[in-house]
Subunit: 349 residues, 2 copies
Amino acid sequence: MSHVVKKRKLDKSRQDRLYFDSYSDVTIHEEMIADHVRTNTYRTAIQRNSESIRGKVVLDVGAGTGVLSIFCAQAGAKKVYAVEACSIAEQAVKIVKHNNMDDRVEVIRGTVETVDLPEKVEVIVSEWMGYALLHESMLNSVLYARDRWLKPGGVILPSKAELYIAPISDPVVEDRLHFWYTVKDQYGVDMSCMSDFAQRCIMNSDITVNSVTVEDVLSHPARFAELDLYSVTVEELRAVKGHFRCESFGSAAVNAFCVYFTVTFPCPDKPLVLSTSPFKPETHWKQAVLYLDAPVEVVQDTPVTGEVSMYPSEDSARHICIHVDYSIGEQKTQSKTFSIPDWSSEAQS
Amino acid sequence: MSHVVKKRKLDKSRQDRLYFDSYSDVTIHEEMIADHVRTNTYRTAIQRNSESIRGKVVLDVGAGTGVLSIFCAQAGAKKVYAVEACSIAEQAVKIVKHNNMDDRVEVIRGTVETVDLPEKVEVIVSEWMGYALLHESMLNSVLYARDRWLKPGGVILPSKAELYIAPISDPVVEDRLHFWYTVKDQYGVDMSCMSDFAQRCIMNSDITVNSVTVEDVLSHPARFAELDLYSVTVEELRAVKGHFRCESFGSAAVNAFCVYFTVTFPCPDKPLVLSTSPFKPETHWKQAVLYLDAPVEVVQDTPVTGEVSMYPSEDSARHICIHVDYSIGEQKTQSKTFSIPDWSSEAQS
């Protein structure tokens, strides 16, 4: 007996309270630190950028438990300001002290938009990425920090984000739709007529965060957007969009798109990429899965083309909507708008 | 990036709307029908009670997709009233028709407290059980139906519910607390001081719905309450309580209690029990896990005694609270009150 809840408009202050409350529980921090791809890529990137960090002043935007700030201190930073709005900041203070870093790492509780730093910084480090890159992301805060606190010629880690899309065939959907045809054999009641209803419920407009298996990806992913963190503006984040073109590897039934991101750290030798691709080791971001209304058959080289547009939800600026205009083979262009179900709010109507 | 949300008082009509909306999605119905223990036990119980059902009028309280109503029609019921408040009733109508049962099964959309049946009934069947038996359960509605619509001498399926408790040792908690001691080896930052915070977050007062492994159960479970559906009153459901006494199988660290239920169907030969015990095949109800504030060491035959009290939450009458007074070995009595986190509402403060 589980609850399915609907969206409701939240006023701005309540949104912020929910957002900042949510990071105080240990589970999310455990998940993030235990995500070896995430934490180790940041650690390696910070170590490889030690020439830019040694003797410099660093700002960590949304520092959480302070682990990235400590990595920067270990890489030789003269001073690290670890700015964190949630009560997890109290734990960060303890951890910094426990690692004898309290002479170099200063935890400051507050949002980066409101705190007053005693000086400008040479480096900004931040792990700001949300599901589908921009869902509940802190990128706006990073851009604020860049414009307000970064010295000219300063470094941003990571410095670039890219978004990708690929058509997929999710076998779980097929299994779940087929389930209703199996009830008669099991219990003697024919429930096959539930299949249409099940399809409407399952292939809905929610963004599902799920691990996509490599075998279920039906083409090479297509990059549809790139954000340069040195130059992108808050205004540009209100509509991140781009075209894509994929070609099917073989015969299959496309029933969804998967969207994922990479971020790139500049390094003296070659750039270091933190990838959430289904072709790479799994991260806690998994992939964002967008279900079509119904499966579409493709064969080898069938083109899957279209345009993706990502923008903040009208209900809550921290929540992302993804609109996809797409065409599969000879099919005329279809459109569907997706959003992440808002488990923090309740029925609107 | 996940949300952790807090409780908020909901007015009664909003509570009802959330409750009845939540059963319209296909997922919960798929989960319930795919729960073979649940669906097959009901089917077998209805078949074995065909002498009580044949030629009789049946009321199915909270009929969902109508599958139990069809089982009753297949067992020879003259007429089945399938009362369902959610929009899933529309699917039940289709399924009944699709199985050529529309002459015998009548789907009526509404709550059993408000619908007007054309006649009294000889049998009430209902799958009303929630997590920990009483969380979001429909038992009040079944009792209303009994008092309003059941003829004297009529049959209720199931007719009895029993609640059990046992001390357990959940290894996941141990692993999660230990995690913070492993961070230094992995990333060179000592985060062991997070362990206290982690314990407060993980061993909190939420009721966790989880599958308890047989090996983690530390004693024979103790029955602490029994509800006779022929005689129990709505008033009595406001405080379902009882004492328990368990004795530890061996040496271990108790870190939680597990609470589960059985319901019993009278049958001509011998009663049929639908059990959600960790010693029986898993059901979608799993078990309710209640974490202590800190682990307590026990040895063989250490007594674990106390009293459990279950009552509706003040915030929402459909939500259950479980209060446990307990004593482990020589320890003085401790108390803790648990509730299921309310994912359907939002921050109160």
